[in-house]
């Protein structure tokens, strides 16, 4: 069941109605039932994988929870008898035991994801390697289907298990409630990647009908529909046209396709998030924010802090921090300090962790070398910009460049936009080599005449489409500037009188219906992140 469909609108309306008339205690059961119906509407066969991951996570969580509880009770009962050393040794023994459980859960859940998502990629590369070395044997290509949302719910399950290992909260003891946490329908398809302590209690608590929340949720859903149908699906036409056959195009047309793909993914993904958050808001649940106007970022590092925030947060808490603060990395730091000096030696373990994070983020997007290159592109820019920061500062001082004015911030914004857009050659290009070739042709032969010779009108879009794109980008920018200034747009709308509000809602629906870009049979295209 697609988010952008009449079926989904009817489904959410019916589910909300049933949810609000159901007795308080049973409300969460409606959400669970609704979530499973939603999942089964997309795929009945692959439901097994979701239930399997839920069961493994629940059982491992229970074991971890029991170990935590036992330790807590023992420490409380023997508080006065135990010395500091004894307490430390007990904690260390318990940690070792817990590590086995965490390893088992991560191995099973992540192993399943890796097998389904990367088996053919790894197998294909090994086959090439074997062939080049003259070794016999062939790893077969399997017809594997990727369960809906597996990349999202697997990360969610790992976060839950690691948090229990860290003793952050108590384990869930109700399998059905936990199943709801793992499958909540607005966020199962493409996130946001939820944390148990933020989402679970909201799902289990009953929520009453709240007119203001419902209207704000509907506004957010409409906003998401507009992003997806007015901008993302329209830009996709030109982007696909260029990337599917890049050879006849040159210069700024190639750059337009790469930058356009960045905007397409933003409108697509953040639009999907708006729909997810809007639906949850109607039901009284606040999902985590996943985008915070990334195109207002002044650096690539800031861009990634504003883009797919829940994935970034997950990587920070479960990969970056554990790696950079590990003993192995600390030893590496000590060793490199002796060789490269204090500055580099101190930073190297952090840089290495950051690089690994970006590689993982790249690979998380798909099983192809181009995603590895995409990770390397982003990691290299961030690490080199931090390394070169002292030189930049000296240079700016020497040239007496005022960095406290709008023009400088605008320059930084544009620089980030260009660097991000170039990175998109990797994520959208057919292969790594094609991406590099397109990058080269953009730089070597920019050809500004394409702006005047009608090249842009030969990409599957007419001038009316470009008007819609241009106007909607202006609307996005205006809303973005308002939000950057701390203005809460939806609260402002709520302050207006009834007639204006309804005019706005009807206008938004009309804009979606009239100016939305629809495929055959008036259906919207799939969300980009849905395939992850």
């Amino acid at each position: 069941m697609d988010f952008i469909s009449a079926t989904f609108v009817v489904f959410v309306t019916l589910l909300s109605a049933v949810y609000f008339i159901t007795p308080q205690k049973a409300k969460w059961c409606i959400l669970l039932l609704g979530s499973y119906i939603f999942y089964m509407a997309s795929s009945v066969k692959l439901l097994f994988f979701l239930i399997f991951t839920t069961a493994v996570t629940f059982i491992c969580g229970l074991i971890l929870g029991n170990i935590n509880e036992k330790q807590k009770v023992y420490l409380k009962e023997h508080k006065s008898e135990l010395t500091r050393e004894e307490k430390k040794s007990l904690k260390s023994r318990t940690s070792k035991k817990k590590r086995w459980i965490v390893a088992a859960a991560v191995f099973i859940n992540l192993g399943l994801l890796i097998f389904l998502k990367y088996f053919n990629f790894i197998g294909g590369n090994l086959n090439s390697l074997f062939a080049s070395m003259g070794i016999g044997g062939h790893i077969p290509h399997l017809n594997l289907l990727l369960p809906l949302g597996i990349s999202f719910y697997t990360l969610q399950s790992i976060a839950y298990i690691v948090d229990l290992y860290r003793g952050k909260y108590q384990a869930d003891r109700n399998f059905f409630k936990f199943s709801l946490f793992m499958s909540f329908f607005p966020q199962i398809v493409q996130g946001p990647i939820a944390r148990y302590d933020h989402l679970a209690h909201q799902l289990y608590e009953p929520h009453k009908f709240d007119y203001q929340r419902v209207t704000q949720g509907v506004q957010l859903i409409l906003w998401g529909f507009m992003k997806k149908l007015l901008l993302a699906d329209r830009l996709a036409v030109a982007v696909n046209y260029v990337f599917d056959n890049p050879d006849p195009h040159e210069g700024f047309v190639l750059f337009f396709a790469a930058a356009g793909y960045g905007l397409q993914v933003y409108a697509d993904f953040s639009g999907g998030m708006d729909v997810a958050r809007g639906v949850a808001q109607i039901l009284g649940i606040d999902l985590a924010l996943n985008f915070e106007r990334p195109y207002f970022a002044l650096s690539i590092e800031e861009f990634w802090r504003r883009w797919h925030i829940t994935l970034g947060g997950w990587m920070r808490d479960y990969v970056f921090y554990p790696l950079s603060l590990s003993k192995g990395f600390a030893n590496l730091g000590k060793w490199t300090r002796k060789i490269f000096g204090n500055y580099i030696g101190k930073k190297l373990p952090t840089f290495l962790s950051m690089f690994i994070v970006f590689l993982l983020v790249g690979v998380w997007h798909g099983s192809s070398w181009k995603y590895v290159a995409y990770g390397i592109w982003n990691g290299t820019i961030i690490v080199s910009s931090i390394l070169l920061e002292p030189f930049y500062e000296k240079f700016l001082k020497k040239c007496r460049i005022n960095t406290e004015c709008f023009s400088w911030r605008f320059f930084q914004m544009m620089r980030t936009f260009v660097l991000c857009s170039f990175g998109r050659f990797f994520s959208r290009g057919i292969s790594c080599m094609t991406a590099l070739n397109m990058m080269k042709r953009t730089v070597v032969n920019p050809n500004p005449w394409v702006f005047f010779d009608g090249s842009f009108l030969n990409l599957g879009l007419d001038y009316k489409d470009f008007y819609v794109i241009f106007i909607f980008i202006l609307v996005l920018l205006t809303v973005g500037v308002m939000q950057e200034k701390g203005i809460r747009v939806r609260e402002k709308i709520a302050e207006q009188n009834l007639y204006f509000r309804w005019l706005l809602y009807i206008g938004a629906v009309a804009v979606v219906l009239i100016f939305g870009h629809y495929g055959s049979g008036y259906s919207a295209s799939e969300f980009v992140y849905q395939q992850f």
Binding site: R305, R316, L325, A330
Partner: protein, 77 residues
Amino acid sequence: MREQLLDILNDLRPDVEFEKEKKLIDDGVLDSFDIVSLVSELNSEFDVEINVMDLEPENFNTVEAMLELIVKMQEEG
């Protein structure tokens, strides 16, 4: 101890007024790079073992919270 901590913080980020800030993490004043450097400095300077489990925003949002964390770590040995 407070002075020592402020020295480390000012060394790390001279552009931040640490005494005034109340939401160093929640407002994104300190990023993850800063936190990793800060933790390594605190561990060696105060002979404690702050690890990944302690990297909660409430432990690093203010100078006071950091001091509390250091004292707790020192007491736990």
